[in-house]
């Protein structure tokens, strides 16, 4: 009797497990169908395609049929952490809640999921998770569009594309912004303590790579732990492009990093700004927004961290990066995604974003609403000519040469 009971229970369990999984797939499929439905039912009202015409095939066609301001359901945004002001964070930053504003303006919910690296995001999109909008960095846009993972932007639905700074309207990672719209941009340079470096002007990568220059503070220097960024700094110091595919140049940069290792405290990509402010390091390679955020956090009513610490892009140049908004090919609500892109490219909303992140805005129209302290800070807005003369370079995807960089970097550290 007991045996039969156990058997029945086990069979029931197995059946329940199987039943669950099939239920799940059917419900998700059903959800997909219902969420897709409003889009298709909404369309006849606006575009009214004749019944005889075959239905538009694929998400690209759906996106191309969107009109400015049109939505087709709740927007699933996949964004970096702390990269959109909403909730308590917006309150802390004394800026408007952009999530609330978007939802109020368009009448759809904004569902935000966050990630911490381009590669983590790529893996999700590659696996077919149906996010409607992602925020890939420059080189990742190239990777994703070449892999067919992005939809072309239907610019008719994004009139605010006109607000984009001409310097960002034809970027090397995505000619003509065909697949992406810039979100924020910044630079990789050197954060430092005025104890060891007197003047931010004319600072050289030599403060990290030249043992003669950093003899006084050897062991108190940090480099990013990122094969492109770290190698990029060395390449810039040597006078090469940070996108070089010349093996000799890459090896020379790796040798330089290997030789510099003895003078480093650490290779660190998360928390380099804290080490600087805490005094563990005095010179650090890093991203401008991270440094300024840390200086801000360290400042109190009677202590101004900006008097003790600075940031500059070295004279040899550095890396400029752009984070962009792009629509994955798996998007289920491309119209809502286009509406959001347009919303973020609005002059005032773009300014709100920058006032929150302390990163520069590629949105020229938003400059009049950006706080002056940000706009006039050369560590946030470097001199415009640096972008034109090639001293500030964007990272581009290296394709098959990616391995060469990984190996050179691993060798430098071994």
């Amino acid at each position: 009797m007991k045996r039969i009971l156990i058997l029945v229970a086990a069979v029931a369990l197995v059946a329940a497990a199987c039943g669950d999984s099939t239920d799940e797939t059917t419900t998700t499929a059903a959800a997909g169908a219902t969420t897709a439905a409003p889009g298709t039912t909404a369309e006849p009202g606006t575009t009214a395609p004749p019944a005889t015409e075959p239905p538009p095939a694929g998400p690209q066609a759906l996106a191309d049929a969107c009109e400015a301001g049109q939505t087709d359901g709740d927007l699933n945004l996949y964004n970096w952490t702390e990269y959109l002001p909403y909730g308590a964070a917006a309150e802390d930053g004394e800026v408007d809640d952009l999530k609330e504003a978007f939802e109020a303006e368009y009448g759809v919910n904004l569902v935000i999921t966050e990630y911490e690296s381009n590669e983590a995001m790529l893996a999700q999109i590659d696996a077919g998770v149906p996010y409607d909008l992602v925020v890939p960095s420059d080189y990742m846009v190239t990777v994703m569009k070449n892999a067919g993972l992005l939809l072309k932007l239907n610019k008719a639905a994004v009139p605010n594309m006109a607000n984009i700074d001409p310097a960002f309207s034809n970027p090397p990672y995505d000619a003509g912004n065909e697949f992406s719209a810039p979100y924020q941009w910044g630079t990789t340079g050197i954060g430092f303590s005025y104890d060891v470096i007197d003047d931010a002007d004319g600072i050289s990568w030599g403060v990290i790579f030249d043992p003669a220059m950093n003899a006084d503070y050897a062991g108190q220097i940090s480099l990013l732990d990122d094969e492109r960024e770290t190698m990029g700094a060395a390449l810039k110091y040597l006078g090469y492009s940070l996108n070089t595919t010349n093996e000799d140049e890459v090896n020379e940069a790796a040798d330089l990093i290997a030789a510099t290792k003895a003078n480093l405290a650490a290779f660190i990509s998360a928390g380099f700004e804290d080490l600087l402010v805490q005094g563990e390091t005095v010179v650090a390679q890093g991203w401008n927004g991270d440094f300024l955020g840390a200086y801000d956090a360290a400042s109190t009513d009677d202590y101004d961290a900006y008097e003790e610490f600075g940031y500059a892009v070295p004279i040899e140049g550095g890396a400029a990066w752009v984070d962009t908004m792009a629509i994955p090919a798996t998007a289920e609500h491309p119209c809502s995604a286009l509406a959001f892109i347009n919303f973020m490219l609005d002059a005032e909303n773009g300014a709100t974003l920058t006032n929150y992140t302390y990163y520069a805005s590629p949105n020229l129209a938003s400059q009049e609403f950006i706080w002056e302290e940000i706009l006039e800070d050369p560590s946030i807005y470097p001199p415009a000519e640096m972008l034109q003369d090639g001293s500030l370079e964007f990272f581009s995807d290296l394709g098959d040469f990616t391995n060469m960089y990984s190996d050179a970097y691993a060798r430098a550290k071994s």
């Binding site: 156990i6 790529l122 990777v143 070449n146 892999a147 094969e227 990616t402 391995n403 990984s406 691993a410």
Partner: protein, 301 residues
């Protein structure tokens, strides 16, 4: 318990071989059902992912970093023999060996001391004390170590006061300090278990036969606690070989180790096949070493 009783009962009463066979089959079924949840879980979430790792190690890297399964080859496996990989592997190996030796050196006397406390309550309290660090996350504890070792940290200040050492953060000793701290419990617990159940009358007999304390330890206690030494060493060695968090946070990521190298392959390098082949190779080596270790030590277990 009931199974055991029934089995004994059936052995006594079984005269009919058919009945016995049926009883045995019934027991087998029951055993299967008891093991089924764990079996299913392990198959789904342990074996299957491992198989996926192995399958991916034969894929090739697409231009964008997507693993292409249809163009399968053994390039990722032949790459393992490059000098760079060997350098990294050898360094990780020595780090793991050194850490295991360090844990054994510190852990054995400690486990011995705990196991020889007379009161059970004292032993229990000491064991709980060993386990307390596990109540919080390893990453959090490693960051706590960073605060102890940085310029303002108590350990650095003590070293500077006595003139014995300077700042330890981002140095090799800091890495070993962190690793020793992290993996010591894995060494102490099996050692404790082995020493505690040791037959002390054998030691007494040895001493009665005029063995010195050291000789008794070397010829009786140590061989008898060997299973604990082996188990503890394996438990420490395996995670040390893949150590990633500690060298990164306390050592400043200044040398590439296997753990970091694999992370790079799955991250920035977007070379999943190569990352998979390194992981697979480590697994195979580990399995071989463990089997060899147990075989050679197994006879005295």
């Amino acid at each position: 318990m009931t199974i055991l009783d029934e089995r004994e009962g059936s052995r006594e009463t079984a005269v009919n071989p058919k009945l016995e066979r049926r009883a045995r089959r019934r027991d087998a079924w029951r055993g299967f059902f008891h093991a089924a949840p764990a079996f299913l879980y392990l198959t789904l979430f342990f074996t299957l992912p491992l198989i996926i790792v192995f399958v991916f190690s034969f894929a090739s890297r697409g231009r964008t970093g997507r693993p292409l399964l249809e163009a399968w080859n053994i390039d990722s496996w032949t790459r393992l023999f490059e000098p760079l990989v060997r350098t990294i592997a050898v360094r990780s190996f020595w780090l793991a060996v050194l850490n295991t030796a360090l844990c054994l050196l510190v852990g054995y006397p400690f486990a011995y001391w705990i196991a020889t406390r007379r009161k059970q309550a004292t032993r229990n309290i000491l064991l709980v004390a060993v386990l307390i660090p596990f109540w919080s996350n390893f990453l959090v504890r490693t960051y706590a170590w960073r605060m102890l070792l940085d310029s303002d940290g108590y350990i650095t200040q003590f070293g500077e006061m006595t003139g014995l050492w300077g700042r330890l953060l981002f140095t090799v000793p800091a890495v070993f300090l962190g690793l020793l701290y992290g993996y010591l419990p894995f060494m102490v617990l099996p050692l404790y278990a082995a020493i505690e159940r040791l037959d002390w009358s054998l030691v007494e007999a040895g001493r009665d036969l005029y063995a010195s304390g050291a000789a008794a330890f070397r010829r009786i206690t140590l061989p008898l606690s060997r299973p604990g030494i082996i188990a503890g060493s394996i438990l420490v060695f395996i995670p040390s070989l893949g150590a990633y968090v500690t060298p990164d946070i306390l050592g400043g990521a200044k040398t590439t180790l296997l753990g970091n190298y694999i992370v790079t392959q799955f991250g920035a390098a977007r070379n999943w096949p190569f990352g998979s082949s390194i992981s697979g190779a480590i697994l195979i080596v580990m399995l071989a070493v463990t089997v060899f270790y147990f075989r050679s030590g197994g006879r005295t277990l």
